[in-house]
Structure formats: structure tokens, C-alpha cells
């Protein structure tokens, strides 16, 4: 493996570790967990129904390549590394429909890989 590639992977793993640790610290036992699979080139599920003010933990896995989850309206993102579980705790502070997308270029269909968080009051 080329040294540069190793560095990129190491950085990705380090970022993930940080995100997972942060989420583990923040997550509460009673939080609802929503499991999301990222695969070429979709999130399953791609529609996530949440309630305003109700905390959830989003749990991501992928069997493909390095992916990303980014929900800019809530200022949260994480890398999704094959073989690992990435977790994000989210407390929606407003109702509405909000886009999320993959923010690590993952292949031919990357640019359409997105979904929606639907928050009801």
C-alpha cells in the first residue's frame, strides 16, 4: 500500500474513532438507535423520521468503501469506514425536511447519494 494511501486511511480511522468516542460519551442508554447502512450508492433507509427534541443515535455501517454522512442543517458528519460502526447522537431542534448526503467521494453514483431527515413537531 502506498504511504499516502496509508496516511489517508489512518486519518479516516482517527476521525472515526473521535466521532465514536464523542457519541459514546454523549449517548444515553434510553436513546433510540436508528441503524443506517451506506452502500453504493444509497443510504438504507434514505428517509429518517424523527421527532423534534427527541434524542436519537444514528448508527452507520458500510460493506463497500469509505463513505460519509453529512447533515449540514444539524452540523453533524462522520466518516463511515468499512468494518466499523460510526455513531452520531442527534437532538433535532426544529421540524421540517432536511437533506443529508455522502461527503466522501465513493464512486459513479456518489453525487446522487443522499437522503432526508423528516422531523415532526
Amino acid at each position: 500500500m502506498r504511504p499516502e494511501r496509508r496516511r489517508v486511511l489512518a486519518a479516516g480511522v482517527a476521525a472515526l474513532a473521535g466521532a465514536a468516542v464523542g457519541a459514546a460519551v454523549l449517548a444515553q442508554p434510553q436513546d433510540k438507535v436508528i441503524r443506517i447502512t451506506a452502500r453504493k450508492f444509497e443510504f438504507v433507509p434514505e428517509d429518517i423520521a424523527l421527532k423534534k427534541g427527541e434524542p436519537v443515535v444514528l448508527e452507520f455501517t458500510t460493506a463497500d468503501v469509505l463513505m460519509g454522512f453529512n447533515a449540514p442543517d444539524f452540523k453533524v458528519r462522520t466518516d463511515i469506514v468499512p468494518g466499523q460502526v460510526a455513531r452520531l447522537r442527534l437532538v433535532p431542534d426544529r421540524a421540517g425536511d432536511f437533506e443529508f448526503f455522502c461527503d466522501n467521494f465513493c464512486g459513479e453514483g456518489h453525487e446522487t447519494m443522499s437522503g432526508k431527515i423528516r422531523v415532526t413537531a
Binding site: 461527503d103 467521494f105 464512486g107
Partner: protein, 297 residues
């Protein structure tokens, strides 16, 4: 971050009507008569060789050839030509990626001017950290001097997460350290270095760090691609100019809920596609941009 350039400012800066744009700290004084060391270069971007999609470009196999012919037909030969990334359309197949890169290289080999600089886009480089691209075109980031202007080509695409990375940022810092704070500096990149539309992937995750390195330098202008349309923006005193694509245009930032291409209009073929020439007035660190259509309608 920064501010868009408004219509009033655009009109104040424009030198030759709607097709031209002036950039640089001294631009308001206007571009004077050409001096010996003034020069111009041509920027082409986002050719996406290998793309198939008749609804967006029924001449996907011919547009790049037309652009090469149009550049060769310029009345005065440019000093050099730069391609600011997405030379090829992405493919998950490494063999097909190399085939597309080879075809692209062969097609642009018909350019009369042999001083051609290449840069990768995420479609070329993000799936293998730039490995195939480098086999064809060499280092993915570099700098060079031309007639008193210092050019820095930044790679913000080989890392799939759209980062320049600490190693390259350190190289940029060291490269800049050799230059006077008043030196004219032109940065070439594929993605915008500022947060144009992060939700549309129109950003560089650590672009702010690059801009912080550039900010102490008083004469910096950035030319980039990626967003398939002309766009002008200021972050502080640094001007950012994106170029049109040579495959299909994308809608304006925020014009639609999602990023989407503009469909081909048979009544106006090649609309929104093109390349540009950049006239550099070195003494004033001023740049006049003139947009050209890829083919006459």
C-alpha cells in the same frame, strides 16, 4: 465566509462587456496597455471525458475535440493552457479509468500550444487517491513561476473526503515562504477553497486553512472548476473565479433544492459550456477574464 461580487461591482470591474471580467487589487484602475511581460493563459475545466448522457450533452464525444479546435484557433497563442480537473468522468473500473485518461491525453495532444498544465478532479482521482491520474500527468500539486507570477496548483480532490491534507498544507506554507508578500500569486484548484455550497459538495473541508496561509499575501487570485459554471466571489482581498464546464452546466448555487445539471437545449446547443482566457497584467497583479463558447451555435 467572504462575499459574492454584486452586479454593480461586476460592471465596475468588467473591461470588455458581458464576456469579460477583471480581477485583482488594481483592477479598478483598469487594465492598461500591454507590457512586454504581460501574458495570457487559457483555462479549461471539467471535460468529463467518458461521460454518457444524451439528455445533457448529445455531443459528449465531440465537445472536447471542438474545444481543442477553438483554442487552436485563437488569434494569439496563449503562453500556456491549464486544465483544472475532472478531465475524465468517474468510473469504478480502474482499467476503464486509465483508458479514459489515455484518450483524454491523446485528444488534448492536438493542442498547438505544448505548454499544458494538468490538475486532477475528484472524478479522476478520488477513488484511488490520484494513483492512475499521476501515472499519466505526474505530481498532483506543484508550483511554477511565469513572467513574474507565482502559480500554485493545489490538489483538493485526491483525498476522497475533499481535504488538502496536512502534508500538502505544509508544502504550500513552505512554497509561499519563498515569496514576497506583494508577489502576484495565482492559485489553481479544482474545488472551491471557500464554502460555496457545502451541502452540494462545493467546498474543500480544510480550504479555510489554505486561505489562512494565503491571506498575508496581498495579491492572490484563485481560478478553479468543479461547479460547471462561471462564478465570482471574494474572501477578504482574495478573488475566486470558477470556470465553465465542457460537458454540461450545473444550476446556479441554491437555485434548486438539489444540485442538478442543466439539460441540453436543442435550440441553444452548447449553451453554458466554454473555456476562458485570462490576461495577466503582471505589474498590477490584475487579471482580465474573457469567456469563450465551446462552439458556435
Amino acid at each position: 465566509m467572504g462575499r459574492p461580487i454584486d452586479r454593480r461591482e461586476f460592471l465596475q470591474l468588467a473591461g470588455l462587456g458581458g464576456a469579460a471580467f477583471a480581477s485583482g487589487l488594481a483592477a479598478c484602475a483598469g487594465l492598461g496597455s500591454a507590457k512586454q511581460d504581460d501574458f495570457y493563459f487559457v483555462q479549461l475545466s471539467d471535460t468529463h471525458w467518458g461521460f454518457k448522457g444524451p439528455a445533457l450533452n448529445p455531443d459528449a464525444d465531440g465537445t472536447l475535440h471542438k474545444a481543442v479546435a477553438a483554442v487552436n484557433a485563437l488569434a494569439v497563442e496563449p503562453d500556456f493552457i491549464v486544465f483544472t480537473g475532472d478531465l475524465t468522468h468517474t468510473t469504478d473500473d480502474p482499467k476503464e479509468r486509465r483508458r479514459r485518461l489515455a484518450e483524454f491525453r491523446d485528444i488534448v495532444g492536438a493542442l498547438r500550444n505544448r505548454n499544458v498544465r494538468f490538475m486532477p478532479g475528484e472524478h479522476d482521482a478520488s477513488l484511488d487517491n490520484g494513483q492512475a491520474w499521476k501515472e499519466f500527468f505526474g505530481p498532483s500539486y506543484y508550483s511554477f513561476d511565469h513572467k513574474g507570477v507565482h502559480f500554485i496548483a493545489i490538489d483538493n480532490v485526491s483525498d476522497a473526503s475533499a481535504r488538502i491534507g496536512e502534508g500538502q498544507l505544509a508544502w504550500i506554507k513552505a512554497d509561499l515562504a519563498k515569496k514576497d508578500r506583494d508577489a502576484p500569486i495565482v492559485v489553481l484548484a479544482h474545488r472551491p477553497l471557500f464554502d460555496l455550497m457545502p451541502q452540494w459538495d462545493w467546498a474543500t473541508r480544510d480550504g479555510t486553512q489554505a486561505l489562512e496561509l494565503l491571506t498575508p499575501y496581498r495579491n492572490v487570485t484563485v481560478f478553479y472548476g468543479h461547479i460547471h459554471q462561471e462564478h465570482h466571489h471574494m474572501t477578504g482581498h482574495i478573488a475566486h473565479h470558477s470556470a465553465k464546464s465542457l460537458i454540461f452546466p450545473l444550476v446556479a448555487p441554491g437555485a434548486k433544492p438539489k444540485r442538478e445539471p442543466v439539460p441540453w437545449d436543442p435550440a441553444q446547443p452548447y449553451r453554458g459550456l466554454g473555456f476562458r482566457e485570462v490576461d495577466a497584467e503582471v505589474e498590477k497583479a490584475a487579471y482580465r477574464i474573457t469567456e469563450y463558447p465551446v462552439a458556435k451555435a
